[in-house]
């Protein structure tokens, strides 16, 4: 098993928490009912529409300082909550 230093662990956790909090915030603002946010939940089934995702990505750019949707190197985009979180974590490494 790959050893992850505590410092990075904290940052990864904080990225995860930031993203989940932002998803809940956008859903509340836009009056959307969220599905339980499990890592394998497809993004299309979260209850968020494309406007919500657009707002989410912009908020995360402000909160995390990265917009992997604009800078994505290999063009592969996330399709689940877990992939979305990894997408940002990779962009922040």
């Amino acid at each position: 098993m790959k050893h992850i230093p505590q410092r990075e662990m904290t940052r990864f956790m904080s990225t995860r928490l930031t993203i989940l909090a932002a998803i809940r915030e956008v859903a509340t603002e836009q009056a959307k009912t969220l599905a339980p946010l499990a890592d394998d939940l497809p993004l299309m089934e979260t209850g968020l529409d494309s406007l919500c995702f657009a707002i989410l990505v912009a908020r995360l750019e402000e909160a995390l300082g990265a917009d992997p949707f604009t800078s994505a190197g290999d063009g592969r985009l996330p399709s689940t909550i877990g992939e979305l979180i990894a997408f940002y974590e990779n962009a922040l490494v």
Binding site: Q30, L51, F53, A54, V57, A58
Partner: protein
């Protein structure tokens, strides 16, 4: 042949003494304009020329216009503060061969055959006025980018909307070298008792003080100008009988705020453009205009084509200047205003500019309609809406807001304003971002600066 000088003398003869136009620096006594001028012997050299009028002070511009109309073939109204580069572009677009410059400032470095200085105070005319042309009045359209685009008016098109009026004391936030301000200058020259004009370096409070001293009855400006008045400590220095808004969309919020501030005044908004001329005035105090105005049998004909307002009247400009310029009017003689309107029962509302839409994932958002929703909130005094790039939807709606006096610039206020927008607008039109700012940038013409 009627030119400004003769029309002016006719009204001056009938009008009372003491009529005047005042800027901060100069007061033009209109009684004296019959036999005095600001161009001295230079006027004779401008005979039949195409003249750039590029002076600083608006009182100078007013005096020069009376002398130039009928004597020159064309007058080009240069915007205030035009630099040499813009003057060269205007000279090229209008084929100007002469320049009237401000005698109190260095003569601009541009290549024209004839230069004449304009100076106040007035001096006796070197020779009686001898008007022989129907002078073209050329002015840039309000578009901001690219080479200047000029339209040609004549005194007849510029004054076609006028009804006789005397005893009015006008003041305006506009510059008289743009269409809206020029309307007020000409009205004043042809009847009003006085006109108070602003100075570019004068603050709102100071200008309101001068307007108050002049006891102006009719005061005009853009909604942006009026929002500045509403935010100014000097708002009670004026006591208008008539408050007029034009040049931008007047929303219900600004109309209501002005009615509350000046309960004795009649608050109205006018619709006009440099190309189409003055189309109508709305006096019922509500945003937009009655759908009953959409008719084609009156002096001003209005129709809506593809949601855009078109206007046909004798007040429209003659044409765009320049070889290869597009036609100003369609085959039915209507001018396409570019202003998008939406019909709601018996009311038509202005939605925004055709070119100004924000595209949110394929859905169109006019900044102006979002601004109207923001401005309807009591915490908001003024707002500006613009696109923010987004990788998912292409763009999102973002807003800057100037808060009303005494409102806390905190998260609770922000949440409250955004919630009100989401209640009033479809989700994609509500701002996704909102920042508080101390003030919003305005163009020299008194309109909100829009992002490109």
């Amino acid at each position: 042949m009627s030119n400004l000088g003769t029309l002016f003398e006719r009204t001056a003869a009938g009008g009372g003494r003491g009529r005047r136009i005042a800027t901060r620096a100069f007061t033009l006594e209109l009684d004296r304009l019959a036999d005095c001028g600001c161009l001295g012997e230079g006027l004779a050299r401008l005979d039949s020329r195409c003249v750039l009028l590029a002076v600083g002070d608006m009182a100078k511009a007013a005096a020069a216009l009376i002398e130039l109309d009928g004597v020159t073939r064309r007058i080009v109204l240069c915007p205030p503060g035009a630099d040499a580069q813009l003057l060269i572009a205007l000279a090229r677009a209008a084929e100007a061969d002469a320049l009237v410059y401000d005698g109190d400032a260095p003569s601009p470095e541009i290549d024209v055959a004839i230069r004449v200085a304009c100076r106040l105070p007035l001096a006796p005319l070197a020779a009686p006025r001898a008007a022989r042309f129907v002078t073209e009045w050329a002015m840039p359209t309000s578009g901001t980018s690219g080479p200047p685009k000029l339209v040609a008016h004549t005194l007849a098109t510029l004054t076609a909307a006028f009804r006789p009026a005397t005893g009015e004391r006008w003041a305006t936030f506009y510059d008289v070298r743009r269409y809206g301000g020029l309307q007020i200058l000409l009205r004043s020259l042809l009847g009003a008792e006085s006109l108070t004009l602003t100075d570019p370096n004068e603050g709102v409070d100071a200008f309101l003080g001068r307007i108050g001293q002049a006891r102006a009855t009719h005061i005009s400006g853009t909604p942006s100008h009026w929002r500045k008045v509403l935010m100014s400590g000097g708002a009670h220095r004026i006591a208008p009988q008539r408050v007029r808004l034009s040049g931008e969309i007047a929303d219900d919020a600004v109309l209501a705020a002005l009615r509350a501030l000046y309960p004795d005044a009649h608050v109205e908004h006018a619709y006009a453009s440099t190309e189409a001329g003055v189309a109508f005035v709305v006096s019922d105090g509500r945003a937009g205009f009655p759908a009953s105005l959409l008719r084609e049998d009156g002096e001003v004909a209005l129709r809506v084509v593809d949601d855009v307002l078109r206007v046909r009247s004798n007040r429209a400009a003659l044409r765009y200047l320049g070889a290869g310029a597009p036609a100003l009017e369609d085959s039915d003689g209507f001018v396409d205003t570019g202003d998008v309107v939406a019909r709601n029962g018996d009311r038509c509302l202005f939605v925004g500019r055709r070119g100004g839409v924000i595209n949110v994932g394929g859905a169109k958002v006019h900044p102006e309609e979002v601004e109207a929703a923001l401005n309807a909130h009591r915490a908001v005094r003024a707002s500006r809406v613009f696109a923010r790039r987004n990788p998912i939807t292409g763009a999102l709606v973002a807003a800057e807001v100037v808060l009303s006096e005494g409102v806390a610039a905190d998260e609770a206020t922000k949440r409250d304003i955004l919630a009100a927008c989401r209640a009033a607008l479809p989700a994609y039109k509500a701002p996704s971002f909102l920042n508080f700012v101390a003030e919003l940038p305005m163009t020299d013409g008194g309109k909100l600066v829009r992002h490109g």
